[in-house]
């Protein structure tokens, strides 16, 4: 029964990885930008929540009302002020600029908050669970995480396929120059995409900060989980990304059951196996 509990738990936590991955995937989809600082921006959002919680005395979940818009604005500004200048044919500038940004954010957080572990507290909610049978229980918190992930991804799908902004996203993704001819303001559209990406990851960042500790150096691991979920799920498919997150979460849960030291390693192995067997992921959509 421990096994079934662990696997269900892992699948639900996979929702978080799916949200991290959705942010990465959105930026790559719209402007072919892979943001190496993605994980560090996730950690930055966690610290922002920490500051809001500590100064205003709010619950971490209420702090989302401040953190999400703040991260949206930061994302918009970051794209307009810096990342737009890296776009073009060459892959080096976006890669190396976001890599530099990653190191800058990590060290700025280290300077501001020290290397101590931090965690957000929500009272008893994180450990409360719904008893299904005598031995089988589903935590309220993991269930809430998964439900949030499903709702956010459904909203992103609606945004992409049912709104004018979504059309602009898809148009610039297909061909930025032609999109421009039809009146799409690419620079603005790219900035909105990054803003939305950071808004989405900050939701997941707050949930994860409740579940596990974080410190200024946690970013790269978050980036790697997001990336693994994207590749497992298949490029360009948001629901595939959810599946990728779940596969990753389950693999980590199985690894942790076998040996506490194997949790992340098992996730990496699942990623490598998918890459070898199905290089285009489980549910590929984009050709690139």
């Amino acid at each position: 029964m421990d096994w079934i509990n662990a696997i269900i738990q892992g699948a639900l936590i996979g929702g978080l990885y799916a949200l991290f991955a959705a942010g990465l995937s959105l930026m790559f989809g719209v402007m072919r930008l892979v943001n190496i600082a993605h994980g560090d921006l996730i950690v930055l959002a966690s610290y922002l929540a920490l500051v809001v919680v500590e100064t205003l005395g709010l619950s971490p979940f209420v702090s989302l009302a401040i953190v999400v818009p703040a991260m949206f604005v930061l994302g918009y500004a970051l794209q307009r002020g810096l990342l737009n200048f890296t776009l073009g044919g060459d892959i080096l500038p976006p890669l190396l600029v976001t890599f530099g940004l990653s190191i800058i954010i990590q060290n700025a957080l280290l300077e501001g908050f020290s290397a101590d572990d931090q965690k957000l507290q929500v009272g008893g909610f994180e450990t409360a669970s719904i008893q299904i049978t005598d031995q089988l229980a589903i935590g309220w918190f993991p269930a809430a995480i998964f439900l949030t992930a499903v709702v956010v991804i459904a909203l992103l799908e609606l945004l992409l396929y049912r709104t004018a902004l979504g059309r602009a996203f898809r148009a610039t993704s297909d061909d930025p120059d032609t999109a421009k001819l039809y009146g799409v303001r690419n620079q603005h559209v790219f900035a909105l995409a990054t803003g939305i990406s950071l808004a989405v990851i900050s939701i997941a960042a707050v949930f994860l900060a409740v579940r596990t500790t974080f410190d200024p150096a946690s970013g790269p691991a978050r980036l790697i989980f997001a990336f693994e979920a994207v590749i497992i799920g298949g490029l360009g498919s948001l629901w595939g990304t959810l599946a990728g997150g779940v596969v990753l979460g389950v693999a980590q849960a199985i690894g942790a059951q076998l040996n506490p030291g194997w949790e992340t390693l098992a996730g990496h192995v699942a990623f490598l196996v998918v890459l070898v067997i199905r290089p285009r992921g489980l549910f590929p959509k984009l050709a690139d």
Binding site: D90, I91, L96, G100, I103, N107, A108, E111, H268, L275
Partner: protein, 340 residues
């Protein structure tokens, strides 16, 4: 009018006056470094070894990213493998330390082959993160091996550091010459590689993959060769680093900041896609570190910001600015047609 008459007289130049002067300078510098223990004592040897291995790591990364378009963020995998292979060969198999450094490089190249088969399925930025994941896998696996100290790591037994040389001073001298050999050897390896047929293919790939493929360059094989040779050199450098440090742990040996981020900053600031760039980058890197030693995190912030600004304003780095301004090349790897 014959066809021959239409072709003006020409010759193909490789060396220039600057490069011939640079060769003299290079030889003088090498002689000075070789004789350093005789006239400068032993105080600076450790710092020079560190400069040598950072420069060598930078040359390897530059060969990958600047020429083959393989932007790896996972070279720490091969530093770690090299370091661990040194410990395994000397402690478990009883190989003498210096031959073990060479074997460690070979071990890294051997492991690089299956790694390449997997990560070469990813393109561009996804390749970068893929190499990082592989490095994390190697870190995780090393942390599980009991004979190599699991996650807490282990120290090199005194008997083995004695096998390098009996006295502490003797050990420093041996490490110094090994470091110099690896530093100079890596630069020469990259130089002659770029001047060879392989190098011509690589330069073609750097300029345009499609065009290179259409004139008969086997892109995949050329990239694989570069990946393996970079792993070989990086593994040897890793073994040297841990022969000097005497203590290894998975977190230190597979550290992305020490063995990849710093190296990337050296190359980007100095100038990606040239042999001269990493020299200049190393100068800036160690200079800034010397000046800002007391500022900890601010040093890394400044380094990161410098790299970001350079990437945006001068993508070919400081050396690119100098080379364009004065039209110089110190390591003659290009060919130039001169009409008479």
């Amino acid at each position: 009018m014959t066809a021959a008459a239409q072709i003006p007289a020409y010759r193909i130049e490789r060396s220039t006056r600057a490069s011939r002067l640079a060769l003299v300078g290079f030889v003088v510098a090498v002689v000075a470094l070789l004789s350093l223990p005789l006239w400068d004592g032993e105080d600076d040897l450790g710092s020079i070894v560190e400069i040598c291995y950072m420069l060598a790591l930078a040359q390897c990364w530059n060969l990958l990213a600047g020429y083959a378009g393989l932007v790896s963020v996972g070279q720490q995998a091969f530093v770690g493998i090299g370091g661990y292979a040194l410990f395994a060969f000397t402690i478990l198999l009883g190989v003498p330390p210096i031959p073990a450094v060479v074997l460690a490089g070979i071990a890294a190249a051997v492991l690089a082959f299956p790694t390449a088969l997997i990560v070469f399925r990813l393109r561009g930025a996804y390749f970068a993160i893929g190499t990082w994941v592989v490095a994390e896998v190697f870190r995780g696996v090393m942390g599980q091996i009991r004979a190599l100290g699991t996650g807490t790591g282990m120290s090199l037994p005194v008997a083995i550091s004695r096998a390098v040389a009996e006295s502490r001073a003797g050990r420093e001298i041996v490490l110094y010459y090994t470091g110099l050999a690896i530093g100079i050897g890596t630069v020469l390896m990259v130089f002659f590689w770029l001047r060879s047929r392989q190098g011509l293919a690589l330069t073609a790939i750097r300029d345009s993959e499609t065009a290179a493929g259409s004139v008969g360059v086997n892109n995949e094989r050329t990239k694989l060769a570069v990946y393996l040779i970079a792993a070989l050199a990086t593994g040897m450098i890793g073994a040297l680093i841990y022969l000097e440090k005497l203590r290894i742990s998975p977190d230190a040996a597979f550290d992305v900041i020490d063995w990849t981020a710093d190296v990337i900053f050296i190359v980007v600031i100095g100038g990606i896609g040239s042999i001269e760039g990493p020299f200049l980058g190393a100068l800036v890197f160690f200079g800034l570190r010397y000046l800002l030693a007391d500022y900890g995190a601010w040093y890394m912030i400044l380094l990161g910001a410098t790299a970001v600004v350079i990437m945006l304003r001068a993508p070919r780095g400081l050396w690119g600015l100098l080379a364009d301004r004065f039209d110089i090349q110190l390591f003659p790897v290009h060919r130039r047609v001169r009409l008479r």
